[in-house]
Symmetry: C3
Subunit: 342 residues, 3 copies
Amino acid sequence: MHWLRNTWYQVGWSSELEQGEMLSRTVIGTPLVLFRQSNGAVSALLDQCPHRFAPLSMGRLDGDMLVCGYHGLGFEGSGQCALNPHGKISKGLKVGSFPVVEKDTVIWVWLGESEAELDAVPDSSFIEAAPEHGRIYGYMPTKANYQLLTDNILDLSHADYLHPTTLGGMMTNSQFSIEQQGESFVLKWDSEDQAVPGAFAPEIPPPQTGDFSIRVEWHAPARMILHMAAKPHSERGEFTPQSYSPTLHNMTPETETSTHYFYCATRPVNTPPPEVMALITKSIEHAFVAEDKPILEKQQERIGNRDFWSLKPRMLSVDTGPVQVRRLLDKMIEKEQAQSGA
Amino acid sequence: MHWLRNTWYQVGWSSELEQGEMLSRTVIGTPLVLFRQSNGAVSALLDQCPHRFAPLSMGRLDGDMLVCGYHGLGFEGSGQCALNPHGKISKGLKVGSFPVVEKDTVIWVWLGESEAELDAVPDSSFIEAAPEHGRIYGYMPTKANYQLLTDNILDLSHADYLHPTTLGGMMTNSQFSIEQQGESFVLKWDSEDQAVPGAFAPEIPPPQTGDFSIRVEWHAPARMILHMAAKPHSERGEFTPQSYSPTLHNMTPETETSTHYFYCATRPVNTPPPEVMALITKSIEHAFVAEDKPILEKQQERIGNRDFWSLKPRMLSVDTGPVQVRRLLDKMIEKEQAQSGA
Amino acid sequence: MHWLRNTWYQVGWSSELEQGEMLSRTVIGTPLVLFRQSNGAVSALLDQCPHRFAPLSMGRLDGDMLVCGYHGLGFEGSGQCALNPHGKISKGLKVGSFPVVEKDTVIWVWLGESEAELDAVPDSSFIEAAPEHGRIYGYMPTKANYQLLTDNILDLSHADYLHPTTLGGMMTNSQFSIEQQGESFVLKWDSEDQAVPGAFAPEIPPPQTGDFSIRVEWHAPARMILHMAAKPHSERGEFTPQSYSPTLHNMTPETETSTHYFYCATRPVNTPPPEVMALITKSIEHAFVAEDKPILEKQQERIGNRDFWSLKPRMLSVDTGPVQVRRLLDKMIEKEQAQSGA
């Protein structure tokens, strides 16, 4: 499988898991059950009882213990069996457990072979820097390989063609640049005096034109933060760091051909009033669900289970980002697999 | 395929096949068409015309002859072609036919390579020993390997966790024993002074406690008879043989990952009145359809097409029955395959 | 794949493609997008953008150019890229394009390796020889290999058993003959003084009996023209060439196990009034959709992905046509594959 293992994957949003609730979700092919303990901490276990393989998520929570619905074995967040109504509990009676960190309203899980790198949990503090009503959270499961979803964000020119009424219009005319920073990339798109895309019309109403600036950071394996700034062209001056509104685009592989797409668009500064945020939310959801998702899934359908490169895609100038990122990620995965002897 | 071949499989209930009707059902991977002849006897043919492979069950019955719906070839219950509107009938023009025995309201079929053992047709005479209104017949097709369904009956401790409101409550506290008798097993569970499970509450209403005794006979490949006795704990004395109500649990493999589950619960003695039987029926159906079936199918989903033992299940004391039975059945299958040179 | 490549396949009816419309259809495993240009001509391209494999049929037509919905590349009917909003257009930036001929209301496509044989476009001029209200067009996608659909037409005896109320009744009693003409076959069925099938009852009402004559031409790979004549038995004389009403049965493989079935029944002479044509249409659709399609799909299900001959079908006299045709087609495919070195 073409996956990085020693890394943190987003498995959900904090809001998806109230205390006493469970959530079943498969990450890089591994079925997980998440549950929130009484102290608020989240645990992640293999969603498969070691006894007879029933999904533990079909059981129930008894305090901080997850009790299998089939024969009543209870497991702590550590994975250790703590209840066996049928006899002794051997030390070996346990289920796989995975390190979890909850930070910035994101739930992260570590599925790596090496020890979880607690100081490498990604920073998404920009989310909570925005007021609650200035955040648009989304979760869009998509039947496509995660790298197709990465390509989609790293080649924003697609917005002009796929999202003409909401996000697109000025991308193809933008100045583009890309810069590698260690194992990350920063991609930039800048444009001036452009027609204003629909999603920005509530704030920059026509017939004004606009200036736009976008910065996308890519981090392995498939986490991107998109910073976007817009202003009326008539307004003088440069964009300040405060002008940018960040959006998280986090692609977590479920299987080789399906992805959990988590996104969170924020408006930390000059947060529009709720009725404008509602319009922006509608634009974003239309673009993602009605436009991105169908074409990504059809792309995957055409590719089938063939290797992407074996199909000899005809790359364009707009693919600079996607190609450089794919190459770096390939190297990182190869390196990891060489180290693990896999 | 991990199946015993030289054995009788239940393919249906007598009531499923009125005279002049057909029934299409696949047993150990073989598509069968059953039909009832004018003398009442049931025939079983391969449900595939030898001419062009159309299912014969898409045709029609003309007296005792099954006529293919595509080109009009007619076949007798023996499989021999008896009607060819297009020319002569060669001796070789026939379709596979399989020995059928109907006994005790059960229709049995023999798919073995060796000759059908007519004196080995299983005895289910206990069914007709109960009055008609004292029988609860069921058929539950389940997307799981038949051995998972066998395990389910041989480890009744699951009732306490999966069926807490209907059948469970006293199993984990029972005295358990198992005894091999030739190529069969008898498993016993006995308990005293226990809270009364929901399905028994109509007859032993709370706050009374109850005494319970269960005997399960297992016969290869996957036929079980469960004898259950219950009485108020306040009632003195031992259970007599007449106290026990037998239930048939008969698991017929359809494919490697799907099973025809036939069951018949009987109340031969002290048959409750119809309104109580209706409550018991409801309890049983809830337990089977709403509780057993989903967990069995999810177990199968988790196992996928991997070998059960390769997943290294962590066996508990309650698995004594399932494990001994699996081992014996494995040996019987190996022996049969060695003999047939398969 | 068991397909002839250097041949014309019907991909649709003219009426399915208005100007400015697109049609996505897979032929012998190749996804195609068809579109009609402003001069009326039809183009066929691979329905897969060479850039990132999105289906071009998810894009839009801009005049005579098909514009990909993902990144805005535009392609001419020749397949050459004519619009790249992101940079230069290299000569190699193109998508597969396939010769198309529209003739007799049929749209034909050439998917062969060798050059399209323009003088070999099949003749279906009989269609337009009938007045418009005397044509019954049909398209029936069927989940079965195209050769099973060919067999169905070449062994019309099935009508007596599968279509007893509409088309059948007199086939089994017919005189049958078959003649090879180069790489084609002509099959004949003639019968006299027969009960009149339902579909002919509007024109030859009972209790009259009828005389019937059928000629089927088969052309590789799976194109058949069925000429049918019927008259009251009381009417003296022979059938004239004008007595015959031709029907096209054109089977285009979609995949190994699915077929586009195109048919067009015509009544060029003595065209019945519209209300009778409506009855005939109903009979035909009932026979095809409610009777042929289910049995063809179940046949395919029973065969699975096994080779037809490996199942040792028991051939009957009525299979003379199907068997001779399968043998000739096998030879033609083998020859073609040998020549292409595939």
